[in-house]
Every structure is written in C-alpha cells, then in structure tokens.
Amino acid sequence: MELLKAFKTADVPGTEAPMAYEDYFVNMGPQHPSTHGVLRLVLKLAGETVLGVTPVLGYVHRGVEKMGEAMTVVQFTHLTDRLDYLSAHMNNWGWALAVEEALGIEVPERAQHIRVIMAELTRMASHQLWWGVLGMDLGAFTPFLYGFRDRERINDIFEKTCGARLTMNYIRPGGVVQDVDEDFAKDVRAFLEYFAPCITEYEELLGGNLVFQERTKGIGVLSADLARSLGVTGPTARASGVDYDVRRARPYGIYPQLAFRVPVMSAGDCWARYQVRIDEMRESLGIVRQALESMPEGPVRAKLPAIVKIPKGHWLSRVEAARGEIAFYLQGDGGEKPWRVKVRSPNFSNLAALPYISKGHRVADIVAILSTLDVVIPCIDR
C-alpha cells in the first residue's frame, strides 16, 4: 500500500489535466478471472488509467520449504512439482540435481536423455497453455481451447510414461523413476510431426490479428536494466534483451551436446514476450528431436543408498523452467533430512516487475502484462 501512496495522478503522463474524478482503489483478485490463481492486485485508478499496482501475495502459502526440512530428500521431490505445476518435470529435475550433487551420484545416459525430452515437452505444454490463456485474457476464447487441444497430446505422453498428467514426479534423484513406455518414441515423433504446423496456426490466429498486435505492442515495456536488477529470468527477461538461459549459461544434463538457439528480443513489451515464447516452442521441438534420436539403451536410474543421508555442506542447483530460472538450495548436516531448503522461484522475481511496468496503462493492459509475465501463483507463494 505504501507503494501506491507514492503514486500521484500527476506522475502519470496524459493525466496532468485537473481531475474531475477521484482516484480510487480496486481489488483485482484474489478471485479474478485474469489473475491466474489466487493473486490479489490492488489497483489505484484514475478512471481507467492505472496509477499504481501492488501485488498482495500469500493466499496459497503452504510452507513448502519448511516441509522440505521435515522430510527426506526423495520425499521432497513430490512437493517440487506442485510449486509451478506447469514446469513439474523441470522442478523435479532441479531438486534432483541438488541432491545428486550433494551425494555425488552419476546419472545414467539414458535417463539424461529422457530428462531433456520430458523437460522440453513440459516447456511446450506450458507455453501452449500460456498462449491460450493470453488469448482468453485479451478476450479471444478460441485460442484457449486450441492450446488445450494440443497440450492434451503431451499430457497423454506423460500419462503413458508415469501415470500423471500434471504433477508428474517422474524425475527423481539418480535418474527417472522408471523407463519410458514402449510407445514413447513413436508417440513423441507423432507429436513433433503434429505440433510443428500448430505453431504456425497459433501465429496466424492470434499473432496475425491486428487487434492482438494493437493490444500488445508497446505495452508493459520492461527494460533490460530493470529486468536484471529485479532478477527477472526466462522468456520474460529474454524478451527485454537479457541474453540469459540456464541451459546455456550453466549447462546441465545433456544440453551442451544439443544444438539450439536461445530466442532473444529487445523491445521488452508484451509483443516481444509473445514472440519469444512462440520461438521457444519451435526450439523445443528441435531439442526433443535431437535428444530422441541420440537416446541410448541402458539403465534409467543410478543406485542410491537405501537411506539417503545429506552430507554436511550446501549446494545450489539451477534449471531453466518454463518461466525462467528455478534454483534449489540444499543444506545438509549429515542427517536424513535437509537442514535447510530454499527455492528461488522465477515467478516471484518476474511478478516483481509488474508494478514498475504497468504505471500509466489501462486496466485492460494490466491483464495483458500479467498474462505475458506468465506467473503461476503457487510457485510465488510456496
């Protein structure tokens, strides 16, 4: 609320004229169709012009990090996919990396390939959902269903592989929980074949629409400097010209062996964020194809001791989730349970940009900006 008090009507360009109306506060959320979960935004408005936004967090706080300190590291894997449920595989992977580093475990080659395929499929599924929701937030309902239509196919692959469609919990410390389904390669190839033209369809249906372009170009401009200083990562940062991707900057898994491009734009507006994510879907297709072709036979899980004890020391793992860098900090004291667990969530840092980039826009733009920041609230509140 302090932040809002600092905003004056006169600060906002275009509203310097004497006001015949009063500034007022409106709660957008915690129940609102466009806050993508239980997020509350307090808006200070002058007519429809936004003078300030304050996100109010904590409506789905579950104490996940504290719970991680009360269970074993393998048990905690189950909670990681419930953080950002649209990046479940990457979250599992991030935690597994920290544990593997702590225990010095070598992950079998086949598992490494499966991990990459799963992570990139998750990224595509997440972007499909984001694309659909962006359309719906801007008043176009059809993209929402198209996005879901295509995402179903990825979910089917996940379901065949590990029985779950959202909170997969498939990547575990040491590898993956079990080998993939026998139809896996066939299904994934069929999906790659199916989805490539869908991206073009996405671009035509939404990106090609003049109204959509009008609604996104020049809206919510996030500068590269601000993005860096707020710790914004992922497609949101890359749309602002911050050329940072954990897969390349701090490689993990078999990413160094794969050829892929990291899409970067410079405008930093909603349109750039849209473009980056569309390009990322294309890149993910290529990554999955490469990983599938080079996937060897062999075991999928390294042998772990019957009782995993975390040695004294601390480790930090980072992975590139669908929304940016998610980092897991693990500190051990030699016991079975971690002494300290901390999650660095990409959503939290990305949402931090909202108050800075929405000043002076309209109420409808807040929806577009929030949608292109692509936040998942349970990952923010943890």
Binding site: Y24, V26, H32, P33, S34, G47, E48, G135, M136, D137, L138, G139, A140, F141, T142, L145, Y146, R149, L205, L206, N209, V211, F212, E214, R215, R362, V363, A364, D365, V367
Partner: protein
C-alpha cells in the same frame, strides 16, 4: 404460388375478418389484434433468444473444435431450456446498498427496448406488427433505451467493476450509434423513405448493397462493425470484459435478471441483423437478376419471410464467427477507432451517397 406460405398478407386479413364476425365492434377488434400481436411478438422474441443461445454454442463448438451441447435433446436443442430452468431456480440476489428500484428496473429496460424495436421490422410484404412511416427513426431511437438499462445496471449495483463497465457502455454504445445511424442514412438517401416497407420496395431492382456503387458495401460494413459494438460483442465486448471487469455491468445480477440481460443481447443481435438485412440486403425481397426471368422465377419459389429470415440469420452467424475469432480492443483504442476512423468514413460515405443520388449515378435507377 397460391397458398399462405407465399402470401402471408392473407393471414392478417383472415384474422381481421374472423374477429369482426366474432366481435362486431371495430375498436374491440383492434384491441384484440393488438394483444394478439404483442403476444406473438413476445413468443417470437423469446424463441429467437433461446435458439440463438443454442446456435451461438454450436458455432463456438465448430470454431473451437469441441462438442457444444450434445446431451439434452438431439444435438442439445433442449439445452437452453434446461439452462433457463436452472437460471429461474437460482436465488435472486440484490446487493446490499444497491439502488434497489433502479437495480430491478435495469434488465427490464434492456429487454423492453429490443422487444419493442422488433415490432417495426417487415417480415414479408404484409407481415409487420406496426407499420410506421418513420419506422427506421423510431427503431433507432427506441434501440438507444438499451444503453440506459446497462448504465442503470452498472450504476445501481454498488460495485466498482460494474461501474467501470457501465461507463464504458455509455461511451461505447452512444459513440457507435452515430456511425451506425450515418451508415443507414447513406442508404436512406437512395431509398428516399424512412418507412421500412418502402425501403424494401425500393430494392425491387436490386439490393442497395450493390445497387449503390461502392457506397452500399462500405455503408454495410460500417453498419456491421458499429452494430457489433452496439450489441457489446467481441471485439467490442468491453462492457462485459469478463477477463478485465469480471463481468462488467451485470456482475451483481443473478437468476432471471441475469437471464434478461443475456436474452436481450441475443434479441439485440437479431434486431440489428434484421435492420441490416432490410436496409442493405433487400429485406424479404428475393434475389433477382435483371433480365434473367428463369432465375428470378426460381428465386421466387422461396417465400419472402424465408428470404428475410435467411438473410438476418446469415448476418447473425457472421456476428458469432467474429466473436469466436477476435480478441478484445482496449477502451481507448475502441474510442479512437470510432471517432477517428469509422465516423469520418461514415460521413464521407454519406456525402458520396448524396452526390450519387443527385446525379442519378446508381445501378438500375427506377
């Protein structure tokens, strides 16, 4: 072509004859005819609204590659009835601190406006509830009462989102009404009458959409766009803006009152499409090609009311197609589009139309 399907003007005549024989007093006959007409119109309006709700879902289902209603009745045709029952059985909530009288009046205003306006539309040569020599002006006037209903609803709800929706509605509907009206006037200068019947009759040589060179099609498009805005449909559904304003002006309405807003929207769509079909597409006038007698006779095989209904419904389908394809404009973009593009274009069209009529430069001048 000798039966009543083609010659609907026989129906009112037969009813009048029957009532005169039964009642005798001509004033009483008129009264009964009025009540009968109102009841028929009310029935038709309800049926149209209900069926359009179903059609909308089906169109959406086809555009979005899903099923649409499929369970209640064959292809879900009883779905809207079931929905209606459900809505009726819901609790009818009035928010605390709401302006009760206006809150209750608002849905009635919306519904009544569109209902009354439909009475002036000619369905067939003599099938029209009210024949009025300035029918078009009256319809445009009565149509504006709808915005009053929306403003009243938003203002009386005691909810900031509703208020925002109502303010948007006021700005939007009033602005776009100007373009819509000017577009209609461009054709009126060709038709030379404000009477719907005469407007249709003036299109015996061809529909105005192409008989008025270029002006016809431009005015048709302007009216189409402006009327989508007047109906608060995507891409101009800012009044509801469910992803921004939660549901805008009708956030606080439940049960039957919500249903009335909902039905009024659909009747309104049918109304603007009827006006569009009447003024630009010849109303009940069949599609004729000058000189092609054989083809014209074939076209005449379809009864006039079917021509009218077909044209109106085809336009309704366009409305629905647009709705399921377009994102929503922002409030300032919407206003800019109207005042800086649509309305100047409408004025230019009107000026050109006037010149064309004065010079007699249009196709098949009678």
């Amino acid at each position: 072509m000798d039966n009543w399907i083609w010659h609907t003007e026989r129906i009112p005549a037969a009813i009048t004859a029957f009532l005169t024989a039964l009642l005798g007093n001509p004033q009483l006959v008129d009264l009964v005819k009025m009540i009968l007409a109102a009841a028929l119109l009310a029935g038709f309006v309800s049926l149209t609204a209900l069926s359009l709700v179903w059609v909308e879902r089906k169109v959406a289902a086809h555009v979005q590659q899903r099923l649409g209603p499929m369970r209640v009745g064959p292809h879900g045709i009883l779905q809207t009835l079931a929905d209606g029952l459900k809505l009726l059985s819901k609790e009818n909530i009035t928010p605390l601190e709401a302006d009760r009288f206006i809150f209750h009046l608002a849905p009635l205003l919306c519904f009544a406006a569109t209902f009354v306006a439909l009475a002036f539309i000619p369905w067939a040569p003599d099938l029209q509830v009210v024949n009025f020599n300035v029918g078009l002006v009256f319809v445009l006037g009565i149509g504006s009462v709808g915005v009053l209903g929306i403003l009243a609803a938003g203002w009386s709800s005691n909810n900031k989102w509703s208020m925002l929706g109502a303010m948007r509605a006021g700005a939007q509907i009033i602005s776009y009404e100007l373009s819509a009206t000017i577009a209609l006037i461009s054709i009126l200068v060709f038709a030379g009458s404000l009477d719907f019947r005469e407007i249709v009759a003036s299109q015996a040589q061809g529909w105005w959409i192409w008989r008025a060179p270029l002006v016809g099609i431009v005015a048709f498009l302007i009216y189409g766009i402006a009327s989508i805005a007047e109906c608060n449909r995507t891409p101009f559904d800012l009044v509801e803006g469910e992803s921004e304003l939660t549901a805008g002006f009708h956030t606080e309405y439940a049960s039957i009152r919500f249903a009335m807003f909902f039905l009024a929207e659909f009747v309104n769509i049918f109304l603007v499409c009827s006006i569009s079909a009447t003024v630009f597409l010849g109303g009940w006038m069949p599609f004729h090609i000058g000189g092609a007698a054989g083809f014209n006779r074939l076209a005449d095989l379809i009864p006039p009311w079917a021509w009218f209904y077909g044209k109106a419904m085809a336009l309704v389908l366009v409305f629905m197609w647009v709705r399921w394809t377009f994102p929503r404009l922002r409030v300032d973009q919407m206003m800019r589009f109207e005042w800086k593009f649509l309305m100047p274009l409408a004025f230019v069209t009107l000026a050109v139309a006037s010149c064309l009529v004065t010079a007699g430069w249009y196709f098949f001048p009678g």
